[in-house]
Symmetry: D2
Subunit: 251 residues, 4 copies
């Protein structure tokens, strides 16, 4: 089975490479928004995803906190600067959705700003989709125990020192607040043209595999994605309202 | 009367200066979109408007034709890069509305792109307004005879050599096509939060005066705009559907 | 004589327009650095100079104070972003030379930073010249009494309110400190490939005329500059060491 | 021994993490230029190097071919835009040195442009060093047979499809031309403040280990680099003139 997965993972990587060759030829553009609870595995997923991609065609965008100049500009302005040109794949490692998550829980912006964000984002994303950009939004989530274990590992592993943040200390305490913010965000910003896809990420390899499968089905033409399995529905599923309350996200 | 106008113009300039001091203090942001038929007087209006403004707080944005890289990006992307930060006044000398005017008449983009633009622009602008940016859209128009005279002056005056464009040659021929494109554009993109204001610009000084009066009423607080006359309604008026067909724009 | 000057000024403007048409065709690039004592007339000179130039080919760069992010970058980085592409004329309204002037007098940077700047700037500019960019540096100066009068006018004229700066209050007091900083700057950074040109600017119109004449001789080919008078040598002259001490700059 | 190396590699990764924490605190900036013969292993070295670094503090810059607009600008302009701010590590995956390598061999720029580049680059880099940026230049090289094998692997491995370039086909044919260009480049641009360091990269893991050791000794303070072994001198050594001709680079 390990061997089977190794073969499958290899095929997925080859398909990603074929996707990007195809994008270079056709000019296809793609945006992947990667969001999720702290320690859910965003960085690792991106590393796996970009392992064999072309550095000049792939951009991973991880913006720092806005400076005061940027804060005074249109909220989406600094993100728009990174949208893809022909043939490019842009992966946002966290994104404008900070406003609906970390900023809500920690009060980094005003309730008015957060409300406006929820109003604006469907229209904003619809414009990008309408412009022909393929657009995928992934929400990675983990269980509370798994997060506790990962935070502990972060604290004790010197290789993870750069990932330690003051917010880690309260991530567990704020677990429910993050869940509530997430539920609001997913409910308000999952639209027919830019739906949220949820990923259960307690099992890292399984999550990464499902993410790549999903991206291939969303981004690549049938000649490339045709032979790719559909993601395991226990690991990756489209967000729908019923997922709130049935605990599917945090199981 | 000349003296009266000179005094009035002086007061308008002082009010603009006071507006910008106030903006620097409060962080108020403003976008002015200046569109209009060729030779309608956009450059001159901007020169008058910015005469005493602070160079570090005022940006006039006149983008060249997009290069292929830019053409492959989100249509609004290169404009968004110039939106104002705190205290700034940004004047777009022509803007994204090229897509609904010169591109329509000359076939520089596809009907699908033009249709998508008309669909997208109200939502795009609403987001900016919602973000707190003051937003003014001005359409400058002139009569057909006046345009003919100005184009002739452009051709013969060596000081205007840099304004001569291949499109000048067919501007008169395409007069009706431009009128039709304009009517569609104004009808489709004049919204309650970002309405079009029309300016009859055959008389340059009168047009500039009205524009400044209008901007002050739109952008400045009552303590600054309180004493400013309202613009002459024959020169400047809010677009409304009835203006199409009654010839008001080209009178 | 007034009429003569009017005709001459008209011809200068026409020559500037012809220069820019030629630049558009040939791809010629130019940088003009405009520096000078406070109130020496930089803004007005730029307004005259750009009066009939093409907005899409001319950029006036007036950078605000660097923010902390920019301050931590390579000193020249934010200026380099504005250097010209083919056909462009870029005018720096104040420039990297702030480091050798206002920063020296007011202690806005460290003596080490200022010393490093003086060391680096000749090599930096030589690279630009070597790359084929035409490069003109203008130092505008006025007499102490003229500055006093202009500062007073600034304070009392509401149209000039946006030009008032806290540094105005001490400009006269710091007159000698500015003179010393200027002498060091001009001596250390006037090089054969990027020499300083000094402009006596007490008489505004005369100064502007001389500046345009100089630019035409420096930037335009003989077919355009051939008939242009050389600038009045009492108004505009190349900096040389003897100018320090003989009072020529402040006469 | 495998276990020993694993432990050593772990310690090197920890030291890199400690370096970056220190840089975040002190604001230290670093530029690493990674150049080398095609297939020498630049991408893999960067992946190893950045494995545990903070995405918001690390930027890998791999610029595409310049577009016509960029080609008309100052040669260094588009690179300068990516220089580091406080705390940042910027890794150029290929860099301005394209002008002295691939462009020379393939005639992508003129001999004059290439000559000017060799003249300008020492002064350019000296300014960055002078500004306080730590600056490391690495030249990765391999033997001719190893390159042949890697090119063959590239052609046959679908995971490497995005790395295949038309230039691959002639890389072996042009082997000597690249060697000559390299010799000129290293000789002309290795300076006391910005020397070239050569890396023998036939053995990938050994090369990566040496690179990280070198970077730590160059970039990190003694409290971090103190316990790090010096790189194996057969694998990594400072360029000196005698290396040309004695075949050390291609052994």
């Amino acid at each position: 089975m390990g061997a089977d997965h190794a073969a499958e993972d290899h095929d997925l990587q080859v398909a990603l490479v074929r996707y990007q060759s195809w994008a270079a030829t056709t000019g296809a553009r793609a945006v992947v928004v990667l969001e999720g609870r702290d320690t859910a595995g965003k960085d690792g997923a991106i590393r796996t995803l970009t392992r064999h991609l072309a550095v000049r065609q792939t951009r991973v965008v991880a913006l720092p906190k806005p400076n005061p100049h940027e804060r005074s500009q249109w909220f989406f302005q600094r993100y728009v600067a990174h949208l893809p040109a022909a043939g490019e794949l842009v992966i946002f490692n966290r994104s404008w959705y900070n406003r609906a998550g970390v900023e809500v829980v920690n009060g980094f912006s005003s309730p008015e700003e957060q409300a406006r964000f929820l109003n604006d984002v469907p229209g904003f994303e619809a414009m990008l989709v309408d412009d022909g950009i393929k657009f995928v939004k992934l929400w990675l989530d983990i269980s509370r125990d798994e997060q506790a274990a990962r935070l502990e590992s972060r604290r004790s592993d010197p290789l993870k020192a750069l990932k330690v943040s003051p917010l880690d200390l309260v991530a567990q305490e704020n677990w429910d607040a993050y869940s509530t913010a997430r539920d609001t965000m997913l409910s308000r910003t999952s639209t027919p043209v830019a739906p949220w896809t949820c990923v259960r990420a307690d099992h890292k390899k399984r999550a990464r595999r499902a993410i790549i499968q999903h991206l291939l089905h969303e981004l690549a033409p049938a000649e490339i994605s045709g032979d790719i399995s559909v993601p395991d529905p226990d690991t990756l599923f489209r967000f729908e309202a019923s997922a709130i309350g049935d605990g599917r996200l945090e199981r």
